[in-house]
Amino acid sequence: MEEGGIEMDIKNDATKNKLVFPGQVHETPDGGFLVTKLDDVINWARSNSLWPLIFGTSCCAIEMMSAADAKYDWSRFGFEVARATPRQADLIIVSGTIVMKMAPVLKRLYDQMPDPKYVIAMGACTISGGPFFYNTYSVVKGVDHIIPVDVYIPGCPPRPEALLHSMITLQEKIKHEPYFRKAKK
């Protein structure tokens, strides 16, 4: 038996399952050549046209806008179609402090986004509450208490280069994602 692959003798199996197949099946761990390549193509297309949701709650949003403008120009990497509705977006950049009152709104926006969806936590406030970690009654101490986060960028606020880096990191993540294949444990 080769490593990772499961060699099945169908004839032996058929006695249990009443299944008749002439010959042997070699299951590869990645689900076959064609599907693997389709994954690559689909992931290439998906990762290069991520549509971010317009969602900024504080000063990090200013850096996010700066990353969108002509100087830093995130459209070079396929992020230019910023959507005002979560139903058309597949990436949410949480840029700014999330307070207790904003938390249910953010959760609802995230729930309205179609799968597959991604989250970038931008800046100290979204990672941990940042400067509002101690002695605060209103700030959520980390956006990952509310929604799952794919990429964290530290900084207060992070520079647009850091945001671009995080987006490219997210693209790398998407490119190595199994789109058709289920992740095996």
Partner: protein, 151 residues
């Protein structure tokens, strides 16, 4: 009116007032019971004519609460700060100035929300920013809750 003239005229109205001139504006410190009569005079008397309340807030000094009113006269172009001392921190209450300056309505809602000062004769005293079932008043020095991490 200059600060000296303001001081003279207010002392005539309310001899119990204290003054503080260390800051930019003349500050009048009064007991909370004396607030409403003084404010009515400051608004209605022609030589004061404080027609604009541009800031209303509160300060928690632990042993007492201090209401702070910033008043401006657009006709005379003079400014004054009225501070009203509330000694009861358990059940603090003071007269609303909503009847004199309409803008006080939301400001007093905010102070009630965050400091818990009850404004008497306020038309609609309610939580302005926090949820209606929020327990406690977050800007009080002794406030704490289960989310709060003390340094």
């Amino acid at each position: 009116m200059t600060n000296e003239e303001l001081k003279y005229n207010i002392t005539e109205l309310l001899p119990a007032a204290f003054y503080d001139e260390a800051s930019e504006f003349l500050t009048v410190i009064i007991p909370s019971e004396a607030l409403l009569p003084l404010m009515k005079e400051l608004r209605s008397k022609k030589e004061f004519d404080f027609d604009y309340l541009f800031c209303l807030t509160c300060v928690d000094w632990k042993d007492h609460l201090m209401m702070v009113y910033h008043l401006l006269s657009k006709t005379h172009n003079h400014t004054i700060v009225v501070k009203a001392k509330i000694t009861d921190t358990v059940n603090p209450q003071i007269e609303s100035v909503n009847g004199i300056w309409k803008t006080a309505e939301l400001n007093e809602d905010e102070v009630f929300d965050l400091f818990g000062v009850k404004f008497l004769n306020h038309p609609n005293l309610r939580r302005l920013f926090l949820e209606d079932d929020w327990a406690g008043y977050p800007l009080r020095k002794n406030y704490t809750d289960e989310h709060m991490i003390k340094l």
